[in-house]
């Protein structure tokens, strides 16, 4: 079974966001694999351990992401492909992925991905990609069971548990809870050193979307009024409400 995993390199959650000209500065930033994509990698490796085959990581982003993707290789993925691009919008990213997959790995059986990335929270790429590749898509999955051509996917519905049956090839986006990603062993770390991270250079489709970033407006801080003297406190409160034209 050939399983592709879509992996996004994201900022470490502790990074303080600094904007320079409406663009997020990448200075001093530590990168990690998007945690939801890590669940997808773990699930792909589990499928490989059960049924054999290979696991290939696909990522759109910086050339330097190879260092981050090594973690995925050390977990047990067989190779990684980086489509070098600085596009940030989901539409173009999906187009790039679809093009690369069609060109290099169009005989895949399954594509796994995290359902959302923790940086922009768009949750669009897996869905868009399923349209472009014209294959079924199951989203927010917490359990995957592959038997032959059929994959049973469990997902949390509204107050119920849904089980979706899907035929491969398909794309499945996974949710937290599906597994506990493994910590790479020494043997796998050593093997990962010898695994390839390929750099794919594609002619980028014209990026019609311009993305810019702003901080949300600072909310006014709350004020705690001293309540030891209720009469006084009520007066202050009324004053404040008048000041802010609520009264």
């Amino acid at each position: 079974m050939k399983v592709l995993v879509l992996v996004k390199e994201t900022f470490d959650t502790e990074v303080k966001i600094v904007l320079e000209n409406e663009i997020i500065s990448e200075k001093d930033v530590k990168y990690i694999i998007n945690p939801y994509d890590e669940f997808a990698i773990e699930e792909a490796i589990k499928i490989k351990e059960k049924l054999g085959g290979e696991v290939i990581l696909y990522s759109v982003g910086r050339e330097e992401a190879s260092a981050t993707l090594k973690t995925g290789l050390a977990m047990g993925a067989d190779q990684a492909n980086i489509i070098k691009s600085n596009v940030k919008n989901s539409m173009t990213v999906s187009q790039l992925l679809s093009e690369a997959i069609n060109k290099h790995d169009n005989e895949f059986d399954l594509i796994l991905a995290g359902w959302v990335s923790i940086d922009d929270n768009n949750a669009q790429v897996p869905g868009r990609l399923s349209q472009l590749l014209n294959i079924p898509f199951v989203n927010v999955v917490t359990k995957v069971d592959v038997t032959g051509e059929i994959v049973l996917c469990e997902r949390e519905g509204e107050g119920c548990q849904e089980i979706v049956e899907v035929r491969i090839p398909a794309i499945i986006a996974v949710q937290r809870g599906i597994n506990e990603p493994r910590y790479p062993t020494m043997k796998n770390i050593m093997q990962a050193k010898r695994k390839n991270v390929n750099l794919l250079e594609l002619t980028a489709p014209i990026d019609k979307v311009k993305v810019s970033y702003q901080f949300p407006e600072q909310k006014n801080k709350g004020e705690i009024i001293d309540g030891s003297n209720p009469e006084q406190a009520a007066k202050v409160l009324v004053d404040r409400l008048k000041e802010s034209k609520i009264l």
Partner: protein, 657 residues
């Protein structure tokens, strides 16, 4: 002239030589088997320090740390030593014709051997009483224990009766020089001379057979400690457990890392297992054992030993059944024999090694098994995954941004990355000192002390990373070595030569472990440093604190680095401060429970280790608990109302407001 006829009343004594040869043969074969078994382990370079071993043996330093069992051993040991020398003298006279045993020398010889035998009997009585009547000795009783005591006792008693009978029959004038022998002759005085003679002959042969059995039995019983304890002490390395072995991670051929099967222990570690006599001193002060965790260092050593022997069985070609047992053990590895909870319970506090009178090295073995679990199997308690990842990404166990590491210093105008003048000291606050709200106050207090003493110092700021102590002791040698390499590079690039830490874990790591990776710095702990500042007169404090205080020795400062006096010296300089000791102090200090990476693990089994210690402090008439380690401080602060207020020594000496 006083002397004695050797082989009096005995015929056919040449049989003795045959028996002796057989005994020696059985003895030698046993030794050969044991040595061969050890050597099936991995290689390890150890130097042979005979002075240390002899000092331990003849001064009983380790053994006398516990007075009653120490005295028990002392009587049997020195009794046996005298009797062995006496036997050799007899042999010289009997077999080489050199008449030594005559005149006054013979009289003294008689008295000394009698006293030696008496001493042994006292020892045997103490030993048996401890085993039968005493509870809470840490002993567990096996047949072997009673057989050994029985043989020794029987050898001495038959010897005394033989002597008594001889003295009674021969009626020599100097019989008084063998007082115990005379005492033993009393019950036989009414027996006829012929019967006395026959009894003498029978007992002589029994005595001889027992002695020969004793020799032959040595390598097959706990008596083997006579030999292996000596070897184990001679091969002892002071830094064992304190400085962990460097694992070769570059080895492309290696299939496994760490120890997953007994044969992956080194020969010394395997010899260690044989050196254990199950005295139980390792568990006396073990925080895991005393808080009802599944780890008991004695039991672990014994289990590892039995696994080693089970593995050995597979080498006996004749015994197919045993081979099967051994093969499963080998295939399953250590992890199936020893529960994970045992391995993860250790706080690496070193109390076991401090207690062990024969220098068994527990810590390295436990870390070796952890290494196997982490590096080879990727199998460890789930909560560690985030600890490891946090340190990988942000260089601290909480995963707080690496770029806010120096924030604590900015708040107090501490020079960061200051250019180095001569004598500039690097202050290494460590992860706790840099990130933890409570411990930041300690860092700030210490920095103020440095400023008051006009010490030129700087910090690495954001380029400092976790020293790696916890991850190393949690078995993640790969991450540890990455951290060490990066830290050493940063320190060397900055041209740092002198470092002062406030955390005993950073201290031990930087001072003792970094040199194995090429990082040689002059490292001191803040207690050492402050003590020198006070003694040198550059830091003057005029505080007066009317309080009774008790000091908790952090394991990595005390047992690991023997820094017991510096912190106490500092506290003694404070006017009005009364220092009182907890029952367990200095080398017997009881761990707070956070070492060995336990800080980052849940404590789900048994009592909380920190509560036990906090209670010990609270039972005193003290108002304040002082320590010198962020791990201990954090653990005891978590006790809240139940414990005493806790402060670091730097805060106390600065005079808290």
């Amino acid at each position: 002239m006083p002397t004695r006829e050797i082989y009096w009343n005995i015929s056919g004594h040449f049989l003795m030589y045959i028996l002796f040869l057989i005994a020696l043969g059985v003895f030698a074969y046993g030794i050969y088997k044991r040595v061969k078994l050890w050597n099936q382990g991995e290689k390890e370079n150890r130097s042979f320090n005979i002075t240390y071993a002899l000092r331990q043996i003849f001064l009983h330093q380790g053994l006398l740390k516990k007075s009653l069992p120490g005295f028990m051993h002392l009587t049997i040991f020195f009794g046996f030593l005298v009797l062995t020398i006496a036997t050799i003298l007899v042999a010289i006279q009997a077999d080489f014709g050199l008449i030594i045993l005559k005149g006054n020398f013979y009289l003294i010889f008689s008295l000394l051997t009698d006293l030696a035998g008496f001493l042994i009997l006292i020892g045997i009585i103490i030993a048996l009483s401890r085993r039968i009547f005493f509870t809470d000795t840490g002993l567990d009783n096996k047949w072997d224990d009673y057989i050994v005591l029985g043989i020794i006792g029987a050898i001495v008693i038959t010897g005394f009766i033989i002597e008594g009978l001889r003295l009674d029959i021969t009626q020599v004038a100097w019989a008084g020089w063998s007082p115990i022998g005379v005492l033993f002759s009393i019950p036989f005085r009414n027996v006829s001379i012929t019967n006395q003679q026959s009894l003498h002959q029978i007992l002589w042969w029994i005595h001889l057979l027992l002695a020969m059995f004793f020799i032959a039995y040595i390598p097959y019983s706990k008596l083997f400690h006579i030999i292996v304890s000596f070897l184990n002490q001679a091969y002892y390395q002071k830094d064992a457990g304190r400085v962990l072995t460097r694992l070769d991670l570059e080895n492309e051929e290696a299939e496994t890392f760490g120890v997953g099967a007994s044969a992956q222990f080194t020969w010394k570690q395997r010899m260690d297992l044989d050196a254990c006599t199950r005295c139980g001193r390792c568990q006396t002060n073990c925080p895991a054992y005393n808080s009802q965790k599944p780890l008991n260092p004695k039991e672990l050593t014994q289990n590892l030993k039995s696994i080693m022997y089970k593995e050995e069985l597979s080498n006996l070609p004749s015994s197919a059944q045993f081979a099967e047992v051994a093969a499963t053990v080998k295939a399953k590895g250590l992890n199936n024999e020893i529960s994970e909870d045992v391995i993860w319970s250790c706080t690496t506090c070193l109390a076991c090694q401090e207690g062990c009178p024969v220098n068994v090295e527990h810590i390295q073995k436990i870390v070796d098994i952890r290494r196997y679990n982490v590096l080879t199997e990727g199998d460890f308690p789930g909560e560690l995954q985030s600890t490891f990842r946090n340190i990988e990404t942000n260089g601290n166990p909480w995963g707080i941004s690496w770029s806010s590491r120096e924030n604590w210093a900015k708040e107090t105008n501490i020079p960061i990355g200051k250019s180095l003048e001569e004598n500039t000291i690097l202050y290494w606050p460590g992860c706790f000192g840099a990130y933890d709200e409570r411990i930041k106050k300690v860092s700030q207090a210490f920095a103020q002390i440095l400023q008051k003493a006009n010490i030129s110092f700087t910090i690495l700021g954001n380029s400092e990373k976790c020293c790696g102590d916890s991850v190393r002791r949690l078995g993640n040698e790969y991450l540890y070595q990455m951290l060490v390499m990066e830290n050493i590079e940063t320190l060397q690039e900055r041209g740092i030569t002198k470092i002062v830490t406030q955390c005993p874990h950073c201290y031990n790591s930087l001072k003792n472990e970094y040199p194995k990776f090429g990082g040689n710095f002059e490292v001191s702990h803040h207690t050492e440093f402050i003590n020198l500042l006070i003694k040198g007169g550059s830091f003057k404090q005029n505080i007066e604190k009317l309080a009774t205080i008790t000091y908790h020795d952090p394991c990595y400062l005390g047992r690991y680095n023997e820094l017991y006096e510096a912190p106490r010296d500092i506290l003694r300089t404070v006017k009005g401060l009364k220092l009182i000791e907890m029952p367990r102090n200095k080398e017997n200090s009881f761990c707070c429970g956070a070492g060995g990476g336990r800080m980052w693990l849940e404590e789900n089994i048994g009592n909380r280790i920190s509560s036990l210690r906090a209670q010990e402090a609270a039972n005193l008439n003290a108002e304040l608990l002082c320590t010198a380690c962020p791990f201990c401080l954090t653990m005891f602060s978590d006790e809240g109302e139940k414990g005493l207020p806790v402060k670091d020594i730097a805060e106390i000496i600065l005079g808290d407001k």
